[in-house]
Amino acid sequence: MEATKRHFFSDMGVMLGRSMRHIFRSMDTIITVCITPIAMMLLFVYVLGGAIQTGTDNYVNYLLPGILLIAIASGISYTAYRLFMDMKSGIFERFHTMPIARSAALWGHVLTSLISNAISVVIIILVALIMGFRSSAGVLSWLAVAGILALFTLALTWIAAIAGLSAKSVDGAGAFSYPLIFLPFISSAFVPTDSMPPVVHAFAENQPVTSIVDAIRALLSGQPVGNDIWVALAWCSGILIVAYLFAMRAYKRKAA
């Protein structure tokens, strides 16, 4: 037991190296993850944006936080897919019969998700810059944005892990992400929530995406963030902890 603990980080490093190779050898996963959010950004800015009243003159600035969340929500479905394939192919069984910490294999996937989503986020921000996105945020604000996005990615990745570990089919492993991708639409991501009917407004105001979007938007535009950032962090950590516990339970059940 001691030996498996001592080697935990080097074992996890090997697992991370493995799944990062998967990412770089099938760049299409990153491209696919980027294309839909970029297309949506183009659509909203150049087609619908003219008719949307947000009270700001730069709609790309308004839109970007929500677009990033959509990209992450679709990006994590690949984690579910990769986990599902590993469970199915028997390679997890091989790892589990070796003297290595069992969770190393799972953490390898989680860290890979974090890195690949970070790559997608950077690509989308670069495209946004070309489209006229500008930010007055300083280094600290950017770090805070990176931190919130990382926490959001981790939280959703553990949800993806539950799906990947307990799905019966490949389609099932990926399907859970559709509602997550949809969530930003019923939030302050595209239009101010004030314009929504009361019931939708109440939902939008009290779901995690709105507080996360508002916090990131305030940080990027150099506005005071107020309570939003704490609400956003509380949502992300809460989802992270609950999802982690359920994912670990699913993992232990699958791997005795």
Binding site: G90, R94, T97, M98, A255
Partner: protein, 252 residues
Amino acid sequence: MEKAIQVKGLQKSYKKLHVLKGVDFEVEKGSIFALLGSNGTGKTTIVKILTTLLKQDGGTAAVNGFDVAAKPGNVRQSISLTGQFAAVDEILTGRENIIMIARLRHLANPHQAADDLLKRFSLTEAADRRVSTYSGGMRRRLDIAMSLVGKPQLIFLDEPTTGLDPEGRIEVWKVVKELAGGGTTIFLTTQYLEEAEQLANQIAILHEGKIITNGTLDELKKLFPPVKAEYVEKQPTLEEIFLTIIGKKEEK
């Protein structure tokens, strides 16, 4: 003789399905042990319990002297599993697959280990190609090569030739014989009776949750009814022995 595996009264149920109903057997160090049985009799369940993937409901199992339930960490140090489906990474190359396992086994020189195993399994030429381009036989060879990294004392092969063409099957048989020649203990499950006949020193037949017979091929042949007067005297094949024994049990 020292025992590589000792199993006593092993029980396992999946919900209401009682798969193992008190399985007993022992495997001697350095031998090739074949576990025979039809599909769904619980061969893979036994493999999973012995390789620490699954916990038994009752009975005991020890691998290289360590109890699988109490000391799974020690068991994992000395075994490796080649499961029913080739557990290789399709996106990595053959070489990267072996290096990955060598790193996880903390070998001093993973690249050297990969070179040696690739050569031994005639995969040197294909070493830097992605595994997704490999044939079934090559994949299985790589799978077994990955299981040999770090020279485990006991290797589990769960239906290693299922789905292989005859050539691939003969390749695997050759590897198994070489391994056993080098002193490695082999635990083999198969539904091909010829495979057990070709390879095993000791054969056990699992039927309806129990080991109904266990012995060398010659001992099993003695269980077969005496040869009847026929025009041509015919030695029973293992297949006939198998079917006869199962038939008898079902009559009771």
